[in-house]
């Protein structure tokens, strides 16, 4: 099956086959990171610019390593060191980058739709590394790869996602991806953090974490995004932790072999207790490991040319 997307903007536009192809490709790339020479020449001569208008360590490093392991030349730009602070518009920044002929731009932006805006106006491939509260496709894909690795399948899994649903792009991408591959998604969080109408994406909404976690195959905790909170969303972190924090007692309600996931960075003692975060069911570092493979797969797949005919030899 051929992959014919020039951009990776979100999971919403992808088919189940696309998602499976990305996961299978990522699976094949995993082995490279275990070699002593962690490099293949696949994207030799391609230039990738990582443009991060929002702080990020994990995602940016992961994309950079993914590009380098495929032999692409990677350049990083962060908002604080770019001309954006001098008042340049996004489009001007993009046009200037385009003039330097990159092949792929990996972008994170605080505004939903920013990568889509660039994809319409520029020649290069755009990979969305998180746009506002909209989508974070590579995160959802690495989550699915981790689930598939441990559970052998995605179809039929019950996945409980707990925390700040409103501000989370990780949730939206996961709801789309899990839905397309036939998993059940449960969302849970304080009323102020559940956007109205989220059920329309195909998820069930729970008010009580105990109910949401009961019988789940996967429990995914979201970070309380303190930088995005107005004062009104949460009375206190302590109260949040009491009602929505994942503790070993609550984990007992899930299936005995349930996985604990977290997209990071974790606020230990707020949404997740250290006992759970470091417990035997956690696969949090597997997620990070799989992140590199998934991003290698994405960079590889968007780099394919226009001609997609198959030849036997």
């Amino acid at each position: 099956m051929a992959f014919n997307h020039k951009h990776i903007l979100g999971i919403e536009q992808m088919s189940a086959e696309d998602i499976t192809l990305i996961l299978d490709t990522a699976e094949s790339f995993k082995e490279i990171s275990l070699r002593s020479i962690k490099k293949v020449p696949t994207l030799r001569g391609k230039t990738i610019i990582n443009v991060f208008f929002e702080a990020s360590t994990r995602t940016r490093t992961s994309f950079e390593i993914a590009g380098k392991r495929l032999s692409a030349d990677t350049v990083n730009i962060s908002a604080s060191t770019s001309a954006v602070v001098k008042g340049e518009t996004l489009e001007d920044t993009a046009k200037n980058l385009e003039a330097m002929k990159p092949d792929i731009i990996v972008m994170r932006h605080s505004c939903s739709g920013a990568p889509h805006y660039l994809a319409e106006r520029c020649d290069f491939s755009v990979v969305n590394a998180g746009d506002g509260a909209h989508e974070h496709p590579s995160q959802a894909l690495l989550d699915l790869l981790t689930m598939r690795q441990h559970k052998g399948r995605i179809e039929g899994l019950t996945v409980a996602i707990i925390g700040d649903i409103t501000h989370s792009r990780v949730v939206r991408s996961n709801v789309y991806a899990l839905g397309k591959l036939g998993a059940q998604v449960r969302l849970c969080g304080p009323g102020t953090m559940i956007p109205p109408g989220i059920e329309r994406l195909g998820a069930q909404v729970f008010n009580s974490i105990d109910e949401a976690v009961s019988g789940a195959d996967v429990v995914m905790m979201l970070r309380i995004q303190q930088e995005r909170q107005g004062k009104t969303m949460l009375p206190s972190l302590r109260e949040y932790s009491m009602f929505y924090g994942l503790t070993p007692e609550r984990m007992k309600l899930a299936k005995t072999d349930a996985l604990v996931m977290h997209p990071g960075p974790m606020n230990r003692g707020v949404e997740i207790s250290s006992a759970v975060a470091d417990g035997p069911q956690n696969v949090i570092l597997d997620q990070v490991e799989n992140g590199v493979a998934v991003r290698m797969a994405l960079l590889y797949l968007v780099s394919g040319g226009d001609k997609l005919e198959d030849s036997a030899q």
Partner: protein, 178 residues
């Protein structure tokens, strides 16, 4: 079966060719010491498995077997589009090994170039030898096989295919005219 297709090797002929190649490998390497087989996906991996069995029958030694997927090393990514990437699985250290690279059909030599690059990225083999079931000519690189099942003169427009059954057993080699 379409008229434009001729069978060059049937199952018995393939089997005899593999047995002969196995003997040649043993003769050339004075036994099985440090010998390892690496099949090129897909096709070469199935043949490498057959050769491993042959070597076992003759010498009573199971030589290490690996597979390599060359998609990541192709030189035509831009014109071919992103092909599915298969798994590379070399479950032994390649350092110091005499690697027998196994492929079904040798054509331009570009696949073998890619496979050699892939192997070199994993370590430093003592040497790399090439075994193919069919050599159809038309090399574009200075590559020659050490062990050949059958030399088949072809036109560039023709296709040579090795068919396998559901158990990955080679059944026939056929030549397809355009």
């Amino acid at each position: 079966m379409p008229k434009s297709e001729t069978i060059i090797l049937d199952e018995a002929a393939i089997s005899r060719a593999l047995t002969r190649i196995a003997h040649e490998i043993l003769e050339h390497n004075h036994g099985t010491e440090n010998v390892a087989l690496v099949g090129v996906r897909t096709g070469g991996d199935h043949l490498a498995l057959r050769l491993q069995k042959r070597l076992e029958d003759i010498e009573g030694v199971t030589v290490p077997l690996g597979t390599v997927d060359i998609t990541m090393y192709r030189d035509d990514l831009a014109s071919r589009g992103s092909l599915p990437v298969g798994k590379t699985d070399i479950p032994f250290p390649v350092d110091g090994k005499r690697i027998i690279l196994v492929d079904d059909v040798l054509f331009t030599g570009r696949t073998i170039r890619a496979a050699m690059d892939a192997l070199m990225d994993m370590g430093r083999p003592r040497n790399i030898q090439l075994a193919v079931l069919v050599d159809r000519g038309h090399r574009e690189l200075p590559i020659r096989p050490d062990f050949v099942g059958r030399n088949v003169p072809t036109a560039t427009s023709e296709q040579v295919m090795v068919r396998f059954d559901d158990n990955q057993r080679p059944v026939e080699v056929c030549l397809k005219k355009p």
